[in-house]
């Protein structure tokens, strides 16, 4: 008598496990397109100290730029660019876009340093991720994003600047090298398109 319910339960449990498993597998992950920047494995540590691969952002369009926190000239303008993009969007659109700033100075850009910028510039943690790659990965991520840089003797960087728009699968769909509080209208138009 005691065994009976157990026997009944077993297939039910198995069923349940199957359902759970298929729920996790449900959005069958399509292979990455060959022109996706996410082809590059890139663990990033963000302002909250969380480390995860940037593929975690797959599924959500991203505005991406490289920067570093101790930079005085261009990098504040990069933050301005991200904010300008946000302001150009309707609230419903804003919720669907991520803004990812990747440091070229992982040695100094610890989570605390990244968080200090996020707080000072009042960057909404729901949309903004400021993150450092591993030192060995900086040249590669700069390579897929088309950014050139050189560390100077005093620890500052010479670098080119680019604001990139990634679609859900990590394909670069727009790029501008003009940064600041006025973002090229074509770039904004591309953001609207990719969020549709």
């Amino acid at each position: 008598m005691k065994r009976h319910p157990t026997r009944l339960l077993r297939p039910t449990l198995a069923c349940l496990l199957l359902v759970v498993a298929s729920a996790f597998a449900a959005p069958a992950v399509a292979p990455l397109p060959r022109d996706s920047v996410y082809q590059l494995p890139l663990p990033l540590t963000d302002q909250h100290g969380r480390t995860m691969d940037w593929r975690q952002h797959r599924g959500q369009p991203q505005v991406v730029a490289m920067f570093y926190t101790s930079c005085k000239y261009v990098c504040p303008l990069i933050v301005d660019s991200g904010k300008a993009v946000e302001h150009a969007l309707a609230p419903a659109e804003q919720a669907k876009l991520g803004i990812l700033l990747i440091s070229m100075d992982p040695k100094r850009d610890t989570p605390a340093a990244l968080m200090a910028v996020a707080k000072q510039r009042r960057l909404d943690p729901a949309h903004w991720s400021l993150a450092s790659p591993r030192a060995d990965d900086v040249r590669s991520v700069a390579g897929v994003l088309g950014v050139r840089y050189r560390q100077l003797a005093d620890g500052e960087f010479n670098h080119t600047t680019a604001l990139l728009l990634l679609d859900r699968d990590g394909r670069i769909v727009a790029r501008t090298e003009k940064v600041g509080s006025v973002v090229a209208p074509e770039f904004i138009a591309a953001v609207h398109r990719v969020l549709k």
């Binding site: 990455l32 060959r34 022109d35 996706s36 920047v37 082809q39 590059l40 570093y68 930079c71 005085k72 000239y73 261009v74 990098c75 303008l77 040249r139 590669s140 700069a142 390579g143 897929v144 088309g146 950014v147 050139r148 840089y149 050189r150 560390q151 100077l152 003797a153 005093d154 500052e156 960087f157 010479n158 670098h159 080119t160 600047t161 090298e177 003009k178 940064v179």
Partner: protein, 257 residues
């Protein structure tokens, strides 16, 4: 496959190919680059001792890498890592041409591919400074850069049209370090090629310097007579990491304890 194997056996350097090019120990030293950095103030740089491959990586060696790492086949490679010309000189994604291609330096490789090859060997690409340091030598002197005859010889190579098949790698007389083909064969990737920010980049955007760069301005040439370096820098500074060209190859380097 059999054809490639036969070619390999026919070569006197077959043993070297099987394991890749031999490594040459390059003793470190003080070195004044021909590049002028605003922040550098002309201070000679200290180059730490390192090892460098004796000659550029060949087609046969790169084929072995591609066979072991099929994600680097030209028909499978991620297009963010290599442009459409990647390995386009091979007969097929997995096959070299019939001629002596096996021993020629591999070209049409992107920075990402070159980097992956060296990483697979527990090595890395040389830095620009390391490359320039070794390339300053001629057959007898570690720094021949002031010799007009040496400069003329290198200029002569640039002046020759690039038609006809590439010579085999490793045929030239080794330089004072024991390294071959630093000049006169192919251009070569460096690990930090994208740190070469020539001020000419500004032409593209017409941006003010401060828009374009964080910090001080770009580099310029400290030694305008050094065409060898000038040409390399001009070429490397114009490339993206996924670009390939029919005259650009690479060799690996590694730290030594």
């Amino acid at each position: 496959m059999r054809r490639v194997a036969a070619l390999l056996l026919a070569l006197p350097v077959a043993a070297a190919i099987a394991g890749g090019a031999a490594w040459v120990k390059v003793p470190g030293g003080s070195f004044r680059t021909a590049l002028k950095y605003e922040d550098g103030k002309g201070v000679p740089a200290k180059i730490a001792s390192f090892a460098m491959q004796k000659r550029p990586v060949t087609n046969a060696e790169f084929l072995a890498f591609v066979q072991a790492n099929p994600q680097w086949r030209r028909d499978r490679v991620a297009t963010v890592f290599a442009d459409a010309r990647y390995l386009s000189h091979w007969a097929a994604p997995n096959t070299l041409r019939k001629d002596a291609q096996a021993a020629q330096p591999v070209v049409n490789v992107s920075w990402f591919a070159a980097n992956a090859y060296c990483e697979a060997r527990g090595a890395r690409l040389p830095t620009w400074r390391e490359w320039e340091y070794v390339a300053a030598a001629d057959e007898t002197r570690r720094d021949a850069r002031k010799d007009p005859a040496w400069r003329e010889r290198i200029l002569g190579w640039y002046a020759r049209p690039a038609s006809g098949p590439l010579p085999r790698a490793g045929l030239q007389v080794p330089n004072a370090y024991g390294v071959q083909d630093m000049h006169g064969l192919v251009w070569e990737w460096t690990e930090d090629f994208s740190s070469l920010l020539v001020s000419g980049d500004n032409r593209v955007q017409g941006d003010a310097d401060k828009q374009k760069y964080c910090g001080a301005g770009a580099l310029s040439m400290d030694d305008r007579e050094n065409y060898a370096v000038l040409m390399r820098v001009a070429m490397l500074s114009s490339l993206d990491a996924r670009d390939t060209t029919s005259s650009l190859g690479f060799r690996c380097a590694k730290d030594i304890p």
